[in-house]
């Protein structure tokens, strides 16, 4: 316990406290920090311009999460339905992209989505002669990059409950007269929601604060919160405002995580209460 506490304090609490403190100071005229207390930075966060970027980030992260969950759940379902000895191999392939660097994986998408990239060439090969589609530097490209990068998390998170599911539950549902679709909707899906939730929170939290993918695939015109924070610290030299934005972002992530933890706690709380009840 103690080493973990030291670790947490040194690497989490102290840096966060420093950034939080920074957010309450004023920006110096030539950059730098003027150590006088102010709430201005937080006021600025709620300026329609910046609030809009928060909303846009949430929308992009939300869309990426939704797509990743649908694809990831389907993939996890297929893996859990595969023959037992094939499952570890398939999982290995699902996680394989993690073996390369995040930047390289994202650059690969540039190669794909470029005006004269692989997708355009493929279209040409099929006889397409018009203008090359503009795919790179769009919101779609950012979403594609986020989905691609975080998909393995969803697959792993959904695979766990799916593989643990007693196959006799689905059989019992069929036996009682349910179709395959009804069985999925009423038995399999509700019992694997915790995995979906865990995967979704992962993708959402990692996506909303992401700055590499929007910078590379969204182009200069495209900004998410992550880029804004990056700019404040490294380009605009407005550390206090950057700190306020970062704190706001952390607050959003914490809210999402707390909501998930609360839901999971309620689920397991019921289980604990239940096991106590069975003994009595």
């Amino acid at each position: 316990m103690a080493p973990a506490l030291v670790w947490l304090t040194a690497l989490m609490v102290v840096p966060c406290a420093l950034v939080l403190a920074l957010a309450f100071f004023r920006r110096g005229i030539y950059g730098g920090i003027e150590y006088t207390f102010t709430l201005e930075n937080f006021g600025l966060v709620f300026d329609p311009l910046y609030a809009g970027i928060f909303l846009k980030s949430a929308r992009i992260a939300g869309t990426a999460t939704l797509i990743a969950v649908v694809i990831g759940y389907a993939a996890a379902y297929a893996i859990s339905a595969a023959p037992c000895r094939l499952q570890p191999v398939l999982l290995f392939f699902a996680v394989l992209p993690f073996w390369s660097n995040y930047l390289i994986r994202t650059y690969a998408w540039i190669v794909l989505l470029n005006r004269e990239g692989l997708i355009t060439q493929l279209l040409r090969w099929f006889g397409y002669t018009g203008e090359p589609p503009s795919m790179l530097y769009t919101e779609g490209a950012v979403i594609a990059g986020l989905v691609y990068n975080y998909l393995p998390f969803v697959i792993l998170a959904c695979y766990a409950p799916l593989s643990r599911l007693n196959p006799e539950l689905a059989e019992a549902s069929r036996d009682l007269g349910a179709s395959a679709i009804t069985t999925f909707r009423r038995v399999i899906l509700p019992l694997t929601v915790p995995g979906i939730a865990a995967g979704a929170v992962f993708v959402f939290v990692l996506s909303i604060g992401n700055f590499v993918t929007p910078a590379l695939l969204g182009g200069g015109r495209f900004q998410m919160i992550g880029n804004l924070v990056y700019d404040q610290f490294l380009t605009a030299n407005d550390w206090p405002f950057g700190a306020a934005l970062a704190m706001m972002l952390i607050a959003i992530m914490l809210l999402v995580l707390m909501a998930q933890a609360l839901a999971a706690d309620r689920a397991s709380g019921r289980a604990i209460e239940a096991s106590g009840g069975a003994d009595g």
Binding site: E168, E171, A172, R174, D175, L176, G177, A178, L191, S275
Partner: protein, 357 residues
Amino acid sequence: MSEPRTLLAIDHVSKNFGRVTAVDGISLDIRENEFFALLGPSGCGKTTLLRMLAGFETPNDGRILLDGRDIARTPPNKRPVNLMFQSYALFPHMSVRANVSYGLEMERLPASEIRSRVDAILATTELVAFADRKPEQLSGGQKQRVALARALVKRPRLLLLDEPLGALDKKLRGAMQLELKRLQHEVGITFVIVTHDQEESLVMADRMAVLKDGKLLQCDTPHAVYEHPADRFVADFIGVMNFVPGKAVTDGVLAVNGARIAGKVPATLAPGASAVASVRPERIRLFPSVETANCTTGTVEALAYHGLDLQLHVRTPLSPRPVLVRVTADAADRRPVSSGDQVELGWDAADVRIFAE
């Protein structure tokens, strides 16, 4: 009395998984309102046969006729057959009531009918007090009753039970055996139970089938299977049996020590062939007061007290293995024996069964 009607006809059904033949040309008739047991050691194909009746496996060959209609290829949700799973397979996210209602909701019955039928079955299975509980809040016996209620509420033509008492402790199992039988009588549904426990099928079944290596060895009433086993395997598998190996002669078996065990020799057994004479421990009399066709002397090697009876292991010259004798508590009181005693054993020719070795 008219011949009971056949409900389910299993007609030369075979099933193989790759090169493994799980069920090998089994034919069986199961009658209306019958409590039928499929019995056999693990790997005998009884569970595969049950899964084919439920619709989870399709036979490679043969027909399964329910009320004369071939259902071998009907999906599980389209046949009037329900299965009670060994693991119970209760839906963990649903209450007892929701579990039991599920099957009726699939039939799209009006809500009022679902409610009344569920209430009725919960009352029959004594689960009313647990209706709002989740499966994880129930004891083993309660879960078993929910699984039963969930299947029975559908009023299937045929209820399949896969080792229904396997997860219960011994005392509860005894009670539930009688309970299941009572319920079967009450609801008037044909039960087919799969079990590896021979005692369970003797107690519960009207008729039973003994399976081994995917083949049907014998199908008859428990009494007939116990008293007239079809072959050596069945004789050994059901209950306890003493075996004396030897050679067949016209009116018995010649044991290794030259003694003759008198008994009826089956027509299929040629004189001189390797054979085995068998007799149930409870048919052997200790110090017989009357003349018996077969008798021997031996030394008591071990005693096991079972309350109801005393089991003696008696070393005899007849066979290398000790002969097991069951003496009622009352007979044991009249003439006490202890380890090392010389005893006389006797049994009738009518109690001897002779099989090919």
